[in-house]
Amino acid sequence: MARVIVDVSLKPEILDPQGRAVQGALGRLGLAGVTSVRQGKQFVIDIDGVVDEAKLHELAGNLLSNPVIENYTLRIEQA
């Protein structure tokens, strides 16, 4: 069994309205000094058997993330 974690984040130059809304709320609720908030997604994928790493990268870059506006990082934790 392997656990694969894919973090997907918006490219830095792309507008992140969600992050902005969170930043506003954090400030209003008393957290000082916040200069930026970016909100991303995290996929935790459990796989039985051999892990096809090439396939994983292909899907992370096309299905789990949208290459036009997002970047991803992928790490495999053998369990």
Binding site: P17, Q18, R20, A21, V22, G24, A25, R28, L29, Q39
Partner: protein
């Protein structure tokens, strides 16, 4: 149309509220006085009850209702609701109520992943709350439903408790439109005063613009309840 003077019902506008005008219209249709409340004002202008309308408060960017819960108006509403002031949260308003922990459980993304807008059949299963006393138990109604994150979830224990205490206000019939556990469309707190409803009764008060006029009793109920002395 009944005209019961003196029922002042507030409708809160958050940044991103959309159905605030409709909620106010529904209150007026039922004979009440709709009072505009602004999210940034902690003062509730002496209203007897509050409707939290549908929409996308703060863009619903974090979780629906998560940011609105912290608005100054909500701080007062949460306190007053705990003391018995009637509150109805419709759609986004329901989400705000669960985020405020005035109602148990949570509302998550629809199981089919899409926003859905449909004329939804419901069964009314609680007619003792201040918001539903003008219904008969088991009434079937059709009112609009429109949400992207309307899947009601709670742990088994909570669900059993809601059922046992008769706190399921309405249940989806024919189609479960969003994957809600036990087809729950709405619920109410133990006192019968704070209610949350995913579908939109305020869009079903005129046959001209809604699929029915089945939404009216929600608003006549609260006015009757207030007249009967349910005030915080």
């Amino acid at each position: 149309m009944t005209t019961l003077l003196g029922a002042r019902i507030g409708v809160v506008t958050f940044p991103g509220s959309l159905d605030d005008r409709d909620a106010a219209r529904a209150i007026r249709f039922a004979g009440g006085e709709a009072v505009e409340l602004w999210h940034a004002d902690a003062d509730l202008k002496g209203v007897d009850a509050v409707v939290l309308p549908g929409g996308f408060s703060y863009g619903d960017y974090l979780r629906c209702g998560a940011i609105a819960r912290f608005a100054p108006a909500m701080q007062t509403i949460i306190d007053r609701a705990r003391q018995g002031m009637p509150v109805l949260g419709i759609c986004n308003g329901f989400q705000i109520l669960v985020e405020s922990h005035l109602l148990p459980g949570a509302l998550i993304r629809n199981d089919h992943q899409h926003f859905v807008c449909r004329d939804q059949r419901l069964r009314i299963e609680n007619t003792t709350s201040v918001w539903t006393r003008d219904f008969d138990f088991g009434d079937e109604i059709v009112i609009p439903l429109k949400n992207g994150e309307g899947g009601y979830v709670a742990d088994e224990h909570t669900l059993d408790m809601l059922e046992a205490e008769g706190r399921v206000l309405a249940r989806y019939l024919e189609v479960n439109p969003n994957g809600s556990y036990r087809d729950i469309a709405g619920l109410v707190n133990a006192q019968g005063t704070v209610a949350g409803l995913m579908p939109h009764p305020e869009h079903a008060i005129e046959s001209l613009t809604g699929p029915s006029t089945d939404g009216r009793p929600f608003f006549t109920s609260i006015i009757a309840s207030l007249a009967a002395g349910v005030r915080a």
